[in-house]
Symmetry: C2
Subunit: 291 residues, 2 copies
């Protein structure tokens, strides 16, 4: 095991590209190393509570000299749960893990390396947290479905053919749904791309052939000083869902309240905690009439 | 007249927000100041030819110490034409200006301040060139159509109402087309947003009600050292035009060859020089059956 979380990250990165098997055991082990190294590193750091707009949520940042990490959700961050349960979670063996424990374990696994990269990269490392998060999701979802994702789809239409780069797509086999799964640590103004890609896929392959499932870490944004706010645009999402395409699920590791509320009114965008993915994976995979 | 192009830019910026009349004479004068100050500043700078992938195009960068400007198209950059014709162009009085002269004048007017901001901002000023370009387009198109643009559209649908932030929209009045006009100095991977916004507008107001017209400066990208390349994704554009929405025109000040070729094969994306806008503005405004 390496002594620096970034060395573990580099190892993971190499293993992912060399093995070509994102769902494989060797990627599980490398992910586990990054997570454990990151938690060990963070365990030696100071932290500071942030003032939050939403009185029901508590956030803190890890600090290192004058640098601070992205906001971390205090109630969801649990190194103890991650140490105990992450090997089983990485193996998609979730028997008898309570949902709140699973939520804390998943959030801690996802955010730990991101916070490390914020500190070690002095705020300018935007790339490796995004890549780590993508590898984590690709591994967990690939392992759950038993199939590795692809990163582009071939578009064939009469005399025109081309390739559309996408985030993940999973082909679950004959008679089952296919999955289009964009993955973002946060969405901000770029999220319209997700609906636009879903629209292209619906147009090429037929509406409902690929289920669109967006997976995000959080929508927290640091404010000057030691504050935090959730940046949400539920009105925009409503318009996209009505007029561009229909996403089937949106999963967050730290669910923003304003997006969770979208599930209960037309057009009923189903925003949930990512922990729910594991319990409903079989439902997502099963081809069924629109309901 | 101020002595620093950035002071002129600040004046322009203040006038635009204070006057609320983007097409007005006072904005013409302020734009002219920025352009003339920028050309005076650039006239005192060194320049260096760039190696270009496309043997039919020549580019150079202005240099200042260790900083260099974005690539400037040598055949389209003409301070002499800009000095002579920009007052008339800013007034949309184009009588007897030859099309190649108009192209050079427009390109020089658009790129001059951007190159200045690259040098004075030491490569980190991404914002003011984009804003300047947007003001220039809003002014010229607004003046040509005799109407100022808006920056959002109201979406009303049964019991749901919201506001969609857009780039420019122009309402040309009863019985005439409306225009949806995104404006970008370059598009890169974010361009899918343009088609997605057009899709929303088509969905809300009916297909063909708003003509989608994308206006861009160029797609040139500096390469390490003193090289330049055009970054184009014509295959992606084809897929977006087929499966998301249909743009009516794409205008460039410096037309990339690979995009110009899109006009001649299905789905026939009409990519042209921005100089063409002035000669076909009346056609764009006139409501007519799909052809």
């Amino acid at each position: 095991m390496a002594n620096d979380p970034r060395a573990s990250y580099d190892l993971l990165s190499g293993i992912v590209s060399d093995s070509g098997d994102l769902k494989g055991d060797i990627v599980s082990d490398a992910l586990s190393d990054v997570i454990m190294q990151s938690l060990a590193y963070l365990g030696q750091k100071q932290s500071r509570l942030l003032t939050c707009d939403d009185p029901q949520k508590e956030y803190f940042s890890f600090t290192s000299g004058k640098h601070k990490s992205r906001p971390v959700n205090k109630l969801l961050f649990s190194p103890a749960d991650a140490a105990k349960y992450s090997p089983r979670v990485l193996n998609c063996d979730l028997t008898s893990i309570e949902k709140d424990v699973l939520e804390r374990t998943l959030y801690t696994m996802a955010v730990a390396y991101c916070a490390v990269a914020d500190l070690l990269g002095k705020g300018s490392d935007k790339k490796t947290p995004g890549t780590f998060f993508e590898v984590l999701i690709g591994h967990l979802v690939g392992r759950m479905f038993g199939v590795n994702p692809k990163n582009s789809i071939e578009v064939q239409s009469l005399d025109i053919s081309g390739s559309l780069p996408t985030d993940f797509t999973f082909d679950l086999g004959p008679g089952r749904n296919k999955i289009h799964m964009p993955v973002k640590t946060s969405t901000r103004e770029r999220v319209i791309q997700v609906w636009a890609h879903q629209r292209v896929i619906d147009g090429v392959f037929g509406v409902g052939r690929f289920k669109g499932i967006l997976v995000c870490l959080a929508e927290t944004n640091a404010k000057p000083g030691f504050g935090v706010t959730e940046v949400c645009l539920p009105g925009q999402w409503t318009i996209y869902q009505m007029f561009i395409a229909q996403l089937h699920r949106v999963y967050y590791f730290d669910v923003p309240k304003k997006y969770a509320e979208l599930a209960s009114a037309y057009p009923f965008i189903q925003v949930k905690t990512f922990a729910s993915f594991f319990s409903e994976a079989e439902t997502l995979a099963k081809a069924a009439p629109f309901s």
